[in-house]
Subunit: 506 residues, 2 copies
């Protein structure tokens, strides 16, 4: 134990770091990544040591923002520093590296240490890598899921049946959520839908809805609006529902890996935390999606259903076609407009309509509303009840009253891209479409994106418009145009090779 002068350092770090001079660490017999107890005012925190010769002199210890708060530290006070044990989680991560099964207690301990920010990013990266390589069995995955749920807040709807829906993702233009939720809510079922923002895509459901209303709600908002209106469309990142998931996803993103058991636990923990009892999972399959072939998709479905049984959620899965963009619009406001137009009864793209009605229909059947869900969903939509429900949700979330498709703030700059020959559209590359929309500003610029005029299998004449790029800034439009010239996301060939059915039902 030694006294140090605390030097407040205004770093926000995801890790509880103290910064020490190498001379002091040598004297204390510790190194970078070791832990120390920091004591002052009767408070004691465990921090991870980082060394610096320039930030702190010998005898000083740099204390980052979060720890300053935890310790009630006021400027240069004296703190006690002494070596501490490492979290036991580090041994448990090594156990997973050695391909051993982790017990329930061990998994809870790892999740607890992550939730309390006791682990460094390097340690979490090692955990993710070990789980990626060695996997987890269903018992471990169940414990992981429940530990993640218990690491944060949960919403309780009491005895009410609660429904939820999730798209596993990987397919651009998938704006079905703002159509499904109001249909389901209009049928009388509760559906508190939370979702994420785009990470590598052009628009997540949160970005789409945020172009027309507020999505940053509290847990109590979500509960209230769901009970009052029947449904909600909220950003999951704003609430502490299974917050460990956000820590893990950040590191996974850095490493570009998605361990299978972590994907299962990630999705299911959010659903459990929101109080869902019935879940429909949309698993798009096809080139460029997370389940590129049907076998992978079916395996994923089985695992979700199995995990659901373990944690008390009744899961059904729909394998859907995701080989080309869903609908014509890619980008937040463009997708919002397309979804609202469909709710308004405008003849929108058949792929969006069919997918939304099929999936809504399955939920209605799961909820015992009808035995013919598709037709019932179509009837709710046609009657205008879905549009009305959507408007109620948007208003409850601080959006415009009686919103219409034309209210979506689409970028004022646009550029039409023409076919350079006649033929058929035989391939639309999901990844290129997303890259162009992002170059145009999506998802940050809500009005940016792409509107596809001709989709797979459609005939096209030379100089006909095949798609239009939208942007909020002229400079970004130019950048997107130039990228589009290089990527050529829509391939026009002289012959249709095949016509692929839009929807596969389970």
């Amino acid at each position: 134990m030694k006294l140090f002068k605390a030097k407040p350092i205004d770093i926000e770090a995801g890790e509880p770091i103290v910064i020490m001079n190498p001379q002091d660490t040598a004297e204390l017999g510790i190194r970078e990544m070791d832990r120390v107890h920091v004591e002052i005012h009767g408070k004691n925190v465990v921090a991870i040591v980082q060394e610096s010769k320039t930030m702190v002199a010998p005898g000083e210890v740099g204390v980052i923002l979060k720890l300053q708060e935890d310790l009630n530290l006021i400027d240069e006070e004296q703190v006690n520093i002494k070596p501490a044990q490492r979290p036991q989680s580090i041994e448990l991560i090594k156990k997973k590296m050695d391909n051993l099964e982790l017990s329930t207690d061990e998994i809870y301990m790892i999740v607890h240490d992550m939730a309390n920010r006791n682990l460094s990013k390097a340690e979490i990266a090692s955990y993710i890598t070990a789980v990626y390589v060695n996997g987890m069995n269903m018992r471990e995955t169940k414990d992981l899921t429940m530990a993640m749920v218990e690491s944060g807040e949960t919403i309780n709807f009491g005895d009410r049946d609660v429904f939820d829906f999730h798209s596993v993702g990987g397919c651009p233009g998938n704006k079905i959520t703002p159509i499904i939720v109001p249909i389901v809510a209009a049928s009388g079922l509760l559906i508190p839908k939370t979702f994420s923002r785009a990470i590598s895509s052009a628009a997540g459901s949160a970005d789409i809805m945020e172009s027309i209303c507020n999505v940053t709600l509290t847990v109590e908002n979500i509960r209230q609006i769901t009970l009052e209106v029947g449904g909600v469309l909220a950003w999951g990142g704003a609430v502490r529902l299974a917050p460990v998931d956000d820590i893990l996803i950040n590191v996974e993103y850095g490493l570009t890996v998605d361990p299978h058991s972590q994907v299962l636990a990630s999705i299911m923990s959010k659903k459990k935390a929101v109080g869902a009892k019935h879940l429909l999972l949309d698993i798009p399959t096809g080139h460029g999606t997370k389940a590129p072939d049907e076998e992978t998709a079916r395996k994923l479905a089985r695992d979700f259903i199995g995990l659901g049984e373990e944690i008390g959620i009744n899961v059904e899965c729909a394998l859907t076609y995701g080989g080309q963009p869903i609908g014509r619009a890619i980008g937040p406001a463009l997708e919002a407009a397309e979804a609202i137009a469909i709710l308004e009864g405008t003849t929108g793209p058949r792929s969006v309509l069919e997918k939304a009605l099929s999936l809504s229909g399955i939920i209605l059947e799961m909820g015992g509303v009808t035995r013919n869900g598709y037709d019932e969903a179509a009837s709710i939509l046609k009657s205008g009840r879905a549009l009305e429900k959507f408007r109620q949700i948007v208003e409850a979330q601080g959006g415009k009253e009686n919103i219409t498709a034309s209210d979506a703030p689409i970028g004022q700059y646009n550029k039409q891209v023409m076919a350079d020959k006649s033929g058929y559209v035989n391939f639309i590359d999901n990844r290129s479409v997303v890259k162009i929309a992002r170059e145009a500003g999506a998802p940050y610029d809500k009005g940016a994106g792409l509107l596809i005029a001709k989709k797979g299998g459609q005939p096209v004449e030379k100089d006909e418009v095949i798609y239009t790029i939208y942007a909020e800034h002229e400079r970004k439009l130019k950048l997107a145009e130039s990228l589009a010239r290089r990527l050529r996301p829509v391939r026009v060939e002289n012959m249709v090779l095949d016509r692929i059915p839009m929807i596969k039902k389970l």
Copy 2:
């Protein structure tokens, strides 16, 4: 591309980090862990993005010390920021996670990115975890070793045969290096010995030698002294010999793992860089060492010999007994004194003497000096030539002229620990001995440590001294005493169970 006001931030980070406001990262469509190009003055560096709401305002970018230098940045200048590709190494790490063999080019690329600090600690942790779980074959290990060699400086002794020696470690009190090097040098062979400081032990060779002379030498010092005197005893961490090794060892330490192929590459790259053509490897086996059983030790030996063949180093291995401390002294100055006393011809502990002569002898035989290395080594020692050579080395490294055992600065505070009954010493716990020496201040306090009076198999009377604790500070002596009472590192029993031979020759 966007212009930002650069805000110099005096953080030393092992990673090339820029700090950005989340608003800006959202607009650029990037996240934490993504890379950006930072451009100014015609210079361009790639940095890893970290987000902070408090350190930088929107429109500002925080630039850490190393990048300020790389960019010649003077206070708040305007820099260009645009998204950059991630290093390809991240894909290659994923390839190793997927248990695929990495090509020569791929391994060089990973090492290059580490050497240039292009990878975050989390990414390096993921690499180490993947290599730990999936391993590397001999071809990959060879490429890894050579890539690590080529990442730093190398020493060239031209046509001269160069010898080296390395203890794989895990055994306390192993002060044979300061005895072996002068014997070998006195025989006319060149032995430029570099070594590390203690990490978790009570004294590395660097700590032992540092108690009596300077060990922080340059590459040119090491070459000159070796050519002039025949040998050198230098700290490897001060020179850029296979510097990637130091980066990896830091992260391995944090994760408490030593991937097998990384251990091989780590040791052999340092030897190759120093110009060694012949290497004797000491592999202690026994409870608490890195090779706890003989089978593990033999496997390790085979792998080192195989890797040596691949990279042009003639390797021999000696499996040695490491089940209890070597000699009686534990701690930098205590070990220096014990080693010098042996060079002076004092009857020191048989275990140290035998081990040093056996190993020196093997090196003399490898060098063709004699066919009976043990006797030749003993004769060099007895003649006083080894002591004279040791004194030359110490002087060349700035130490005292004609150094003697009594020059080693042993701590002024000491406490004798007595046997509480009569019997035989039947077990000395390596780990407890090290913990007590460290509590007393070793390796930072050079004079701190333990002197064991009674070793395994020796009879002891009640109230006889079994060991003495030394410290430079009274406070630390008290702490070590109290730890010693709890750990009881030397067990006295009523009967000797067995007497274990000190040395096993290969």
